[in-house]
């Protein structure tokens, strides 16, 4: 479930941003080159009134004989000026209010936020109109009024962001190391507010333009200024709508305003998408690609529950699982161990059909109950999930819906239609379904009087128990536990693992246990598979593998662990850094970190081959010799895939 949040614009957002930018450039261009574009003055008569478009007056003239084209071109200046200046003032004011309220908090926060709420819920245009009635109609007054009303929106959003940032690690860290408020606000807060600030600025400019044009349309704008709103005011007063004049008197300024506002809206939208990483998270899974070999693969032997054959998964152009062969044998718990970024979670998600965009399975077969899961399609896979294969994901505190009672969330697993896949007991009447859900919750140790609780009322361990209850409710054949105890403390960790063992014995399902914690997995699993950079590098029965690890990486993992009993032994780290799937070295991916590496390691990747009772992917195995490089450069070609357990 590692969730990569990409701060990238999607193509669709990019198209919108580009359109918006073009619109803005057109309007800004008109404003800058107004004097070149129009040969008549906008605010004085330059011909007879009520002219239709002609070669001298491209859009005709108004009731006072003023050139409409000149008004249109020059109108952009006033509209832009009011919009941008008011927006800049409002954003600055809003930022100030947000920092004071968010950072210092307390009474200042309460007072500012009540004011913000009030200003926000007052009708902007009416407020500006009323205030304009009191304070006059000049352009400066209008700008100040708009800014004085508009600051509340950015203030509210920015304050929320400041509150979030206050709690975020690096701000707390800066605070803890005694940095002054000025320094924290400057380097730690303002910098991170910039994306939100820019989108709020654009949004404020948009609203300012709308308000300015509304005021002008009502004839309450600065009488000395020509703007698009005032053009429409005069057109409306002259009843242009009842004559053909609407075409050159009403449509052009209306469309010009629309172009400007759409431009601002599109650009603002794109900036908002950028500023909120939440919004750029992955979308729902794409439909399963059906470009597969038409011949259905051979089913595995009956005692194999799940078999992966050459499974490959890519995120965009990066392969994170690079051809994995793996079997979960009936009655034997398989532990899959790897560091973050080794591809183990992607593998689990691929089996379940839960890969988020842009992840997809690029090759291989996933055999379960005699069929290739990749051939089932979206709906087939969905019906399998939670019924034949269940998953217990990382013990994130947020796996349960915060606004639903836990009993509802367990019940819906049983209540969802289960037809289509063989061997499932049909779901019964409502009362019976609810009873099963209650029973499952009680089985995992949640007492009956807590069943109507909301997730936030439970501890982390209890929530993971609820997830276990949901997983076993439909008596699945296989349970994939993907880091099921990460984030829990050591004691709770064992409680959950013990519970998993009990349930496994009681409900007769098989388990694929995935974790970065080799000792933890070794304590539970019958067989182990060690994964590095998207490949299985060693596989075998747990006892053998831990006692006689043959791959340098497995040895490294074992040596890096601290122990609480026995002699104090210094943990020895695995040298170097975990492989980056975007930049894998040629040959063996582990070679750069390996003490045993030789030339052959960078020339060719070692295939997984049988060695004693295990499978090892290392040119230098067996590693009995203590001296690096002393082992022979053995390594027979490709009999990978045979399982020798």
């Amino acid at each position: 479930m590692s969730r990569e949040r990409r701060r990238l614009l999607r193509p669709s957002t990019l198209a919108i941003a580009a359109t918006g930018a073009i619109f803005l450039v057109v309007v800004i261009g008109a404003a800058v080159f107004a004097d070149l574009l129009a040969q008549h003055p906008p605010d004085r008569a330059s011909g007879a009134p009520y002219q239709s478009p002609n070669s001298d007056h491209w859009l005709g003239t108004d009731d006072l004989g003023r050139d409409l084209w000149a008004q249109l071109v020059h109108g952009s200046r006033v509209t832009l000026l009011v919009g941008l200046v008011a927006a800049a003032l409002a954003t600055a004011l809003g930022t100030l209010a947000a920092l004071v309220a968010g950072w210092w908090g307390g009474l200042r926060d309460a007072a500012i936020m009540r004011l913000v709420d009030l200003v926000l819920s007052l009708p902007l245009l009416v407020l500006v109109l009323v205030l304009a009635a009191y304070f006059g109609r000049g352009q400066t007054v209008l700008i100040l009024l708009i800014a004085g009303v508009l600051w509340a929106r950015p203030a509210r959003l920015l304050r929320a962001q400041v509150l979030k940032l206050r709690e975020i690690g690096h701000v707390v860290a800066a605070n803890a190391l005694g940095a002054g408020a000025g320094r924290i606000l400057r380097t730690h807060l303002l910098r991170r507010l910039v994306p939100l600030l820019s989108s709020q600025f654009v949004r404020a400019a948009l609203i300012a333009v709308v308000v300015q044009s509304g005021v002008a349309f009502l004839g309450l704008g600065d009488p000395g200024q020509v703007s698009w709103g005032s053009m429409l005011y005069f057109a409306n007063n002259a009843s242009a709508i009842l004559t053909d004049a609407w075409l050159w008197w009403i449509v052009p300024p209306g469309m010009a305003l629309t172009v400007l506002i759409v431009g601002l809206a599109f650009v603002g939208f794109a900036l908002e998408e950028l500023s909120d990483p939440q919004l750029v998270s992955h979308g729902p899974a794409p439909p399963v690609r059906r470009r597969l070999d038409p011949t259905e693969p051979e089913p595995p032997p009956a005692d194999v529950v799940l078999e992966l054959r050459g499974l490959a998964v890519a995120f965009g152009g990066t392969e994170v699982v690079r051809g994995v062969d793996l079997q979960v044998a009936r009655g034997r718990m398989l532990g899959l161990v790897g560091e973050s970024g080794s591809g183990k979670s992607a593998l689990a998600l691929a089996v379940m059909g839960l890969l988020g965009r842009p992840g997809r399975v690029t090759a291989g077969a996933t055999m379960f109950e005699g069929r290739d899961l990749r051939r089932l399609g979206r709906e087939g896979l969905r019906r399998l999930r939670g019924r034949r294969i269940a998953i217990v994901p990382q013990a994130a505190m947020s796996l349960l819906n915060p606004t639903m009672r836990i009993i509802t969330q367990v019940t819906e697993c049983a209540a969802s239609p289960a037809s289509g896949t063989g061997g499932i007991q049909p779901t019964g009447a409502v009362g019976e379904v609810a009873e099963r859900a209650h029973a499952a919750l009680e089985r995992v140790g949640i007492p009956r009087d807590r069943h109507r609780a909301y997730p936030h009322e439970l501890s982390g361990g209890q929530r993971q128990r609820v997830v276990l209850a949901m997983a076993v409710l439909n008596r699945p054949r296989l349970l994939i536990a993907d880091e099921p105890t990460t984030g829990l403390d050591v004691v709770t960790q064992w409680e959950i693992l013990d519970l998993l063992d009990e349930l496994r014995a009681e409900f007769h399902f098989d388990v694929l246990l995935i974790s970065h914690d080799l000792p933890l997995v070794a304590a539970r699993a019958d067989d182990l598979a060690i994964m590095y950079a998207g490949r299985i590098v060693e596989q075998g029965a747990t006892g053998d593998l831990v006692a006689r690890p043959q791959h340098p990486y497995t040895r490294g993992l074992l040596n890096a662990v601290a122990t609480v009993s026995g002699p104090r032994r210094r943990p020895i780290p695995v040298a170097g850094e975990p492989a980056d799937p975007r930049r894998l070295p040629g040959g063996c991916a582990f070679a750069p970190r390996c003490a045993h590496r030789s030339e052959v390691c960078s020339d060719s990747d070692a295939p997984l081959r049988p060695l004693a009772s295990a499978l090892v992917a290392c040119h230098h195995a067996p590693l009995e010799a203590p001296e690096p490089g002393a082992a022979g450069t053995a390594g027979g070609p490709g009999n990978a895939g045979e399982v020798a357990t």
Partner: protein, 266 residues
């Protein structure tokens, strides 16, 4: 007094300003002497992190007193408090959040120096030294990188480099390993101890894992539900745990061992 950190009868309450409160710590007495390494061990919610936050002034006690480097925090003025904080550093749990994503490593690590008022030209040397002592070698390969391009283990080492660059007298490590892969935990703990030794600083290591505590600390303090239930030298505590909570934690840690002890040395 020669104690670097001293908590006397400290109570800490959490909760909304005017709402009902929850006790995070109750009547906690704890001392850490100069150059000492202690581990604070307990389950989630036991109040471990609150101790670290107390020492750097991120949390105010509701009762009792907190003394850091011989000065009671309660009576200090803002400037004195800030000056004191510069001699105390903290390493946080989450290496993905504790580094500013918009700053280069060089600026992140130099921040304590900047805060201490050390002029710009005299910052690069200690920054590079701190990075290299944490195995981020050669330092100039890391100075201009941003946190997003570092692995979790590298980020946590940058955070530790930041904590040590200004030569603090007290270091609080608040579960610095719990978000790292199991294979990296021992290493990070080792690095902390090495640096602590070279600076003769006091280290308070907070963890839920007794195996790590054993590597780091001379003395282990066990917390349960906001109270200290055991406070003894490490090997003595491991050999003969008195309190049931300690026993539970020890059993949990031991269950991992049998597989590891049999493993060969490479």
């Amino acid at each position: 007094m020669s104690e670097t950190l001293r908590l006397d009868n400290v109570d800490v309450l959490y909760g909304p300003p005017r709402g009902p409160k929850v006790a995070a710590l109750q009547d906690v007495n704890l001392t850490a002497g100069r150059g000492e390494r202690i581990a604070v061990v307990g389950r989630s919610g036991a109040g471990k992190s609150t101790i670290a936050r107390l020492a750097v002034g991120l949390v105010e006690p509701a009762g009792g007193s907190v003394e850091v480097l011989g000065k009671p925090l309660a009576g200090l003025r803002a400037t004195e408090r800030r000056a004191l904080r510069r001699r105390v550093q903290i390493v946080f749990q989450d290496p993905y959040q504790s580094l500013h994503p918009g700053l280069a490593v060089s600026r992140i690590v130099a921040e304590p120096l900047a805060v201490a008022g050390i002029e710009r030209s005299r910052r690069p040397a200690p920054v590079a030294a701190a990075l290299e002592s944490l195995g981020l070698q050669p330092a100039d390969q890391f100075l201009n990188r941003f946190p997003a391009s570092l692995s979790g283990g590298q980020r946590q080492r940058v955070a530790i480099a930041r904590a040590f660059v200004a030569h603090p007298e007290l270091i609080l490590a608040d579960e610095p390993t719990s978000m790292l892969d199991a294979s990296l935990r021992g290493t990070v703990a080792e690095l902390l101890v090495d640096l602590q030794r070279s600076l003769e600083a006091t280290l308070v290591f907070i963890t839920h894992d007794l195996a790590l505590a054993r590597y780091v600390a001379d003395r282990v303090v066990v917390l349960a539900e906001g109270r200290i239930v055991e406070d003894r030298p490490t090997e003595e505590l491991l050999a003969d745990p008195h309190h049931p909570e300690t026993q539970r934690l020890l059993v949990a840690a031991r269950r991992l061992d049998r597989y590891i002890r049999s493993a060969p040395k490479s």
